[in-house]
Symmetry: C2
Subunit: 99 residues, 2 copies
């Protein structure tokens, strides 16, 4: 995930890693509340993809009822290995949209 | 996942569990080859969601180049617990469509 992301009022991104889901749930809610944005994007790869789905579902069911997981895309990234060569890792992006 | 699925020529479903991704890759390819269908659906929940994304990406990149992960939906299922109460588990469905 080395692309450059342009952060604007309408586009907030939360990178999901190995912390508990609730940390990212908080990040999503904070993002909505502080910026007044309609869209928050969750990005994850590998094992963290499970957490990203959990986060989307928890925010939707418990906190922001009018939220939708509007667009979900998957892909593959090639990670260079220390011992040479590359390893493929799956990636996932979930765009959450508030009505 | 206790719904009833109607298997028809156009709708094949592969349930992704805890086996290695390649087992499910094989199931998807077999499904396409044996039925001549255009759509194969991957269903997974919890940790297996990572495997489902891996399977979709491997089939697309290595085996069937004209494949698209056409529609991805996520949801939550309530699993009854032995000790009473329920536990929520995230679910995912990836519809693979061949051009």
């Amino acid at each position: 995930m080395k692309e450059v992301y342009y952060m604007s009022k309408d586009q907030n991104t939360v990178y999901v890693g190995s912390k508990p889901a609730m940390s990212y749930v908080l990040a999503v809610i904070t993002s909505y509340n502080s910026s007044g944005t309609k869209n928050v994007t969750l990005k994850a790869r590998g094992r963290s993809m499970k957490t990203a789905v959990d986060v989307a579902e928890i925010v939707k069911r418990r906190f922001i009822k009018d939220l939708k997981a509007n667009k979900i895309t998957i892909g593959t990234e090639e990670l260079p290995q220390q011992e040479g060569g590359t390893r493929n890792v799956s990636t996932m992006e979930i765009i959450l949209t508030r009505a």
